[in-house]
């Protein structure tokens, strides 16, 4: 991938993010776009793990939950500054990921899926049961976040915060993939034995990317909590994990823009389908199944191949 093209796609994304406020009619649409951006950043981190490194995680919502509840609990119960709480949440999520990753990544395929699934479920259960701190199944309110007297409030302000974060994440992810670290990661996906023989310590790389994706999931959990102003255990549950994996798969594994498209689609679809009253889950499911049957590689890689890029999407 040439340096020029690297900037083209990012500039396009920046332009879209800049111009979007001109066509968003009201806060309802801002809200949807903000949720899309949050999901896209989490899906991007997850895609590094699933699509690029070839490892599965069915428990990522657990890390989002850790971030969200750190941002809810630490300022409310212990008077921490929200930014410090956010950092603490990310540190806790990363530590848990690092400690669990060593034994977990000895496993492969369905065993790895089960291990990460179990991890996610345990985190969700802890959040539900520690009602004294978390408010239990009812959830709890989250203090607003700000810096030096300036408080982020309202959809428009949150939009700019997330647009900047999204742009930064995509830039960083692109850089990562096109670096020695990123190539080692993709190499161990392509052939573990070849990667090892070339000097790649594969366990270290799997652990590192798992920790990184947990770190970003936790940060976005904190952002979600502050943005909504309220947090419930649903944020950490299994269905949320599956939703995120679906975004990655539908958009396209090992495709950065696939994560964005997947997140946009899966966030917008339930809204667009609300006219189907009660049948929306059925329609939603049918659309996803159709996508997977006709585009098993995901939307972005399939379309990129169709428009003649040698079957290989530029990552």
């Amino acid at each position: 991938m040439s340096g020029v093209r690297r900037h083209y796609s990012l500039m396009l994304l920046a332009a879209v993010l800049l111009l979007l406020p001109l066509v968003l009619p009201n806060n309802f649409y801002y809200d949807i776009v903000i949720r899309m951006a949050i999901n896209a950043i989490i899906a991007l981190g997850l895609n590094l793990l699933i699509g690029f490194a070839g490892q599965i995680s069915l428990g990522h919502a657990g890390f989002i939950g850790i971030g969200a509840y750190a941002s809810a609990i630490l300022p409310t119960h212990f008077g921490w500054h929200p930014l410090l709480a956010m950092a603490a949440g990310a540190a806790i999520a990363s530590s848990i990921a690092a400690i669990l990753a060593r034994p977990i990544f000895r496993l492969k395929g369905q065993y790895l899926a089960m291990a990460t699934l179990g991890m996610g479920i345990i985190i969700a259960i802890v959040i539900k049961n520690e009602a004294a701190y978390t408010g239990g199944p009812d959830g709890m309110p989250v203090a607003p976040i700000g810096l030096m007297g300036f408080e982020i409030a309202g959809e428009k302000q949150w939009y700019w915060v997330l647009a900047a974060t999204l742009l930064f994440s995509f830039w960083a992810a692109k850089n990562l993939i096109d670096s020695p670290f990123g190539r080692a990661l993709r190499a161990l996906h392509g052939s573990e034995v070849a990667a090892q023989v070339m000097g790649v310590d594969i366990v270290r790389y799997k652990v590192a990317i798992f920790v990184l994706s947990a770190f970003f999931a936790s940060l976005m959990g904190s952002v979600t909590a502050h943005y909504i102003g309220f947090v419930t255990p649903n944020i950490a549950d299994f269905f949320h994990s599956i939703e995120l994996v679906t975004m990655v798969v539908i958009g396209g594994m090992a495709s950065i823009y696939g994560s964005l498209i997947g997140a946009v689609l899966l966030t917008a679809l339930p809204q667009a389908l609300s006219t189907f009253e009660g049948w929306e889950t059925v329609v939603f499911g049918s659309i996803l199944m159709t996508c997977m049957i006709f585009m098993p590689k995901g939307l972005v890689p399939t379309l990129a191949a169709r428009f003649g890029r040698n079957g290989r999407e530029d990552p």
């Binding site: 190539r183 080692a184 190499a187 996906h189 392509g190």
Partner: protein, 253 residues
């Protein structure tokens, strides 16, 4: 001191003794070949030396240091590189990127610097891109440099593995049947390539079925049969050894 010394090496899989009590030494700068009938234990021997398997018994020394049982990624640090009989090319990457992975250990692998694209790292990556392209030219794959590995033909992938291994700047290179599945013209090209590699001061250890190629390019040859060392010597010595003839053609004595 020989570059690589193998002492009384054995490997058993359950009751099957794939390699039994094999000893040999490879001098620096030679092309050293391992031959033998199917199932003689050639690839197992390679997998033992390159750390894919752990030996049941015996020792392997590189520059006098024991390397038996060391993980493959740690062996790469000691200047060991290899190719595979059944291709191990990363099909999710381009041909050029595959070669670039070969240089993994010479690069800055820091995660944060990579994400923020530190100037030094980006510059080294650009240089590496040129070096990798040069290597692809060296193995005769220049026209494929921009292609995804998955769209390359079999013969080209064989050479891509050699380019990737060379990117590691190894002192010793293990080639596991580089000519397997190739036609005679392609085999001759590999033959020439191996010679070119050896001329660049890389010690080459070769497992190969193609006798003509082996006899042509090898300085010394080790013959294995049923996991045991049958004989070892120059091409002429091996060709004239009655045990070797018996193992390959069957003996009616």
């Amino acid at each position: 001191m020989a570059l690589l010394e193998v002492d009384n090496l054995s490997k058993a899989f359950g009751g099957v003794k794939a390699v039994q009590d094999v000893s040999f030494a490879v001098e620096r700068g030679l092309v050293y070949s391992v031959i033998g009938p199917n199932g003689a234990g050639k690839t197992t021997l390679f997998n033992l030396i390159t750390g894919i398997y752990t030996p049941s018994e015996g020792d392997i020394r590189l520059e006098g240091q024991s390397i038996a049982g060391i993980a493959p990624h740690a062996l790469a640090l000691k200047g060991m590189a290899r190719t595979f009989q059944n291709l191990q090319v990363c099909m999710n990457m381009t041909a050029l990127e595959n070669v670039m992975v070969g240089a993994h250990l010479q690069l800055d692998r820091n995660l944060v610097k990579a994400m923020l694209r530190f100037p030094g790292l980006a510059r080294r990556d650009r240089e590496l891109r040129d070096e990798a392209r040069e290597l692809m030219r060296f193995v005769g794959l220049e026209s494929y440099w921009n292609l995804g590995a998955s769209s390359m033909p079999y013969g080209a992938l064989k050479r891509l593995e050699i380019a990737r291994a060379l990117a590691a700047k190894p002192q010793i290179l293990f080639l596991d049947e580089p000519a397997a599945g190739l036609n005679s013209r392609e085999t001759a090209e590999i033959d020439e390539l191996v010679r070119k590699v050896a001329d660049n001061n890389v010690t080459v250890v070769l497992v190969e079925h193609d006798m003509k190629m082996v006899m042509n390019i090898s300085d010394r040859i080790l013959v294995l049969d049923y996991g045991k060392k049958l004989t070892e010597g120059t091409a002429r010595e091996v060709r004239e050894n009655p045990d070797v003839i018996a193992a390959y053609l069957g003996s009616n004595v």
